[in-house]
């Protein structure tokens, strides 16, 4: 038992220790300083030349966003058509069919926006060709997009007055060549040498010891698993993601994969400090995020190790904790840590089934995705946190009766309006669509759809409601995990979550960049004794309070109907 707890503590400490130098490295890469990977310079020059990119060309915030949106739109169209026609394309040893248009719509968007909600199962829903040319490709470039946009924000913060956020193409390419690709190679090889398949052998047929004939799915999985962990993508090779013994073979690979979830998101917080030379600001942000993260982890580890009281009543020995949906080789503590890590960072991979978590743990992971800024998705996590900062600045300003300022720029009505709209949007999308789905289940369970609403849920009562709430929260947070009992591969869910995915990705990217663009354009006001210091512990607590209040006001009623109600029915 204690052995399991020390395991998760060590794991988290190790992640932070690795993330710190990585953050410094990331800052150096994007500020053009010399780094260990300087030998990649010619490769990047080649990419720039072939693609017609001038990496030194400045971009204002509108040009920056236009470049980002153009290439993203192209990827969407590309992914959609490949998925529909995958059965006619090569590298399909298992003979899997093409995706239906609504599923392809959902899948293409889902991977494009770094969410990786998967309404199919990897073994039968994709071919090796689409696993690589759509899924793996989008996992790299969507994560790269997140990092590139964040660097644009860094540039706005760095300069006193500027309308240059840097060159989007330059950052996109370097995010991939300097950060994602090298780390992925390391992680992929660690996995492959611990038993994860990486070769192109298709399904294997064997006869088991007891004499049953069984087929075993395999494929070039290791590389894809590495980037899905590192890029906060989360979409797995196999249906059950990292709970699958080939996707995550042992306790060591589980440690590697857990670290990979958190590594870049935490490193980017440190990178902020190095890049704009405000290390104290970065430390405060890291402190606030870690404070909530540790609380969430402790809750989940406690409840998962304690087990399900309903199983206790049946009289069996639940000494290892709640084991439904978990794997023996990881144990309850490591699975609980993963559940929080993956929902904090909008990763969405799982090493145990979230649908079977005990009620409070299930509630915590939903809440974690509602906050969606504890480290957060690569790049976008800090963008979300930036919105909270702007609101905290505004409220602090009101409290002391002074014009709100952030980093030497007046925060005015327009910026606050944008920030408030984005904050309200999430609550609106999540609760609006959950209400719609719940209405269909309650009042039209027998409507003649492809899958009747009455058949959507895998669990009755409060937990069934949680399944729907989880799905839209996950889509909005671009997380991609699910209470997977939900019957979600049908037009209603494919289309509605597709809409939530797009809005939940691009508005929270566009808004902070717009705010930054507007702020950075304003006259710089030098710091004076009267300035509200945003890198102080006090302001950190203010931001924390804003996060807690906004989240509680927006979501507590919804959580009360699902996980909380289930808790009180069970304990």
């Amino acid at each position: 038992m204690n052995n399991e707890i020390s395991g998760v503590i060590l794991l988290f400490l190790l992640t932070v220790i690795l993330a710190y130098p990585l953050g410094k490295y990331i800052a150096n890469v994007f500020s053009g300083k010399k780094t260990l990977t300087g030998f990649l310079n010619p490769v990047e020059r080649f990419i720039f030349r072939v693609s017609g990119i001038n990496p030194a060309e400045p971009m204002n915030w509108k040009q920056f966003l236009k470049a980002m949106l153009t290439i993203n739109l192209l990827w969407l169209v590309y992914g959609f058509f490949l998925l529909i026609f995958q059965d006619k394309l090569p590298m399909n040893p298992d003979g899997n069919p093409g995706q239906t248009p609504d599923l392809a719509f959902n899948t293409a968007i889902s991977f494009l926006v770094n969410c990786n909600l998967q309404h199919y199962s990897g073994e039968s829903g994709l071919t090796y060709f689409t696993q690589l040319f759509v899924v793996t490709f989008l996992q790299f470039v969507s994560a790269g997009t997140g990092i590139a946009v964040l660097i644009g924000l860094f540039n706005g913060l760095k300069e006193k007055t500027t309308n240059n956020l840097g060159n989007f193409w330059n950052y996109l390419v370097k995010s991939i060549t300097r950060i994602l690709l090298p780390l992925s190679v390391i992680v992929a090889l660690l996995l492959a040498f611990n038993g994860t398949p990486a070769g192109f052998g298709g399904k294997d047929s064997i006869v088991t010891l007891q004499g049953d004939s069984v087929q075993v799915s395999r494929g070039p999985a290791a590389g894809m698993i590495a980037i899905k962990q590192l890029g906060t993508n989360g979409g797995g090779w196999f249906g059950v993601n990292s709970a699958h013994p080939l996707e995550n073979p042992n306790y060591f690979t589980n440690a590697v994969e857990t670290i990979s979830i958190l590594l870049i998101p935490i490193a980017l917080v440190f990178a902020l400090g190095f890049y704009i030379n405000r290390k104290k600001l970065a430390r405060v942000i890291f402190g606030v995020m870690t404070f909530l993260f540790v609380i969430f982890c402790s809750i989940n580890i406690y409840y998962e190790m304690k087990g399900n009281p309903a199983i206790d009543k049946l009289g069996v020995a639940q000494t290892a904790g709640s084991m439904e949906g978990k794997e023996v080789r990881f144990g309850a503590a490591a699975t609980a840590l993963w559940s929080v890590a993956t929902t904090s960072t909008s990763n969405g991979s799982v090493n145990g089934m979230h649908d079977s978590l005990t009620p409070i743990s299930g509630g915590v992971v939903i809440l974690d995705m509602m906050v969606n800024a504890l480290y957060g998705g690569v790049g976008v996590g800090l963008l979300n946190y930036f919105i909270f900062i702007i609101i905290a600045v505004f409220i602090s300003g009101l409290m002391v009766g002074r014009t709100p300022e952030f980093m030497g720029h007046k925060v005015e009505a327009r910026e606050i309006k944008i920030a408030a709209l984005v904050t309200l949007l999430s609550a609106f999308l999540i609760k609006g669509f959950t209400a719609l789905a719940a209405y269909m289940v309650a009042h039209h369970p027998e409507i003649a759809w492809q899958v009747k609403p009455g058949a959507w849920l895998n669990n009755p009562s409060y937990h069934g409601f949680s399944e729907m709430l989880y799905e839209y929260t996950s889509a909005n947070a671009n997380n991609g995990s699910g209470f997977e009992g939900l019957g979600d591969n049908n037009p209603f869910w494919n289309i509605t979550t597709g809409i939530v995915l797009i809005l939940g990705r691009y508005l929270p990217i566009i808004a902070p960049i717009a705010i930054m663009g507007l702020l950075a354009n304003k006259k710089f006001i030098p710091e004076s004794p009267g300035t509200l210091r945003t890198d102080s512990g006090t302001f950190g607590m203010m931001t924390l309070a804003v996060i807690i209040i906004i989240t509680a006001l927006s979501y507590l009623p919804a959580l009360a109907l699902g996980p909380l109600a289930e808790y009180f029915s069970l304990y």
Binding site: L74, L181, A198, I206, V214, M323, N458
Partner: protein, 184 residues
Amino acid sequence: MKKNLLISVKLTIVMILICAVVYPFLIAGISKAAPGGGNGETITVNGKVVGYEKIGQKFTADKYFWGRPSAVEYNAAGSAGSNKGPSNPGYLQIVQDRIDSFLVHNPGVTKGEIPAELVTASGSGLDPHLSPAGAQVQVKRIAATRSISEEIVRTLVNRHIEKKGLGPSVVNVLKLNIALDQLK
């Protein structure tokens, strides 16, 4: 706009080559040196492949150690957990049935001795492991069915416990059952 689109198309092609061709083939190439040649490690008995080391198998006969309940009946062409919520009455009935069935097949074992993992479905449906307790509780049945002493079976289980520095100790059910078959 036109310039952005042109760059987008060209950059996309380059990135596809790097991320979807060079990268996976590089990993596949190097992994040929990994155990199992990058295609998964198999276990061979008398020259015949009987399974993958890391993929659990269905064992229903009394003479074998049983693995955990599986939502996909150990069909490794797919994978799934049960996705049952902790308060679902239907689910709790299934667990109750598993307990009853276990007690029938394992005379002399009391409810309180059954580790929960033996009556709850794994996350993948392919969990290859049991905890040491999960194997030990089946020793009586195995010994009786095979007419060998409990002591021998218990020693065999102990030999198959993989102790971990951190994390839970595990027993690989397939390896244990192979060793069991080789006892005589």
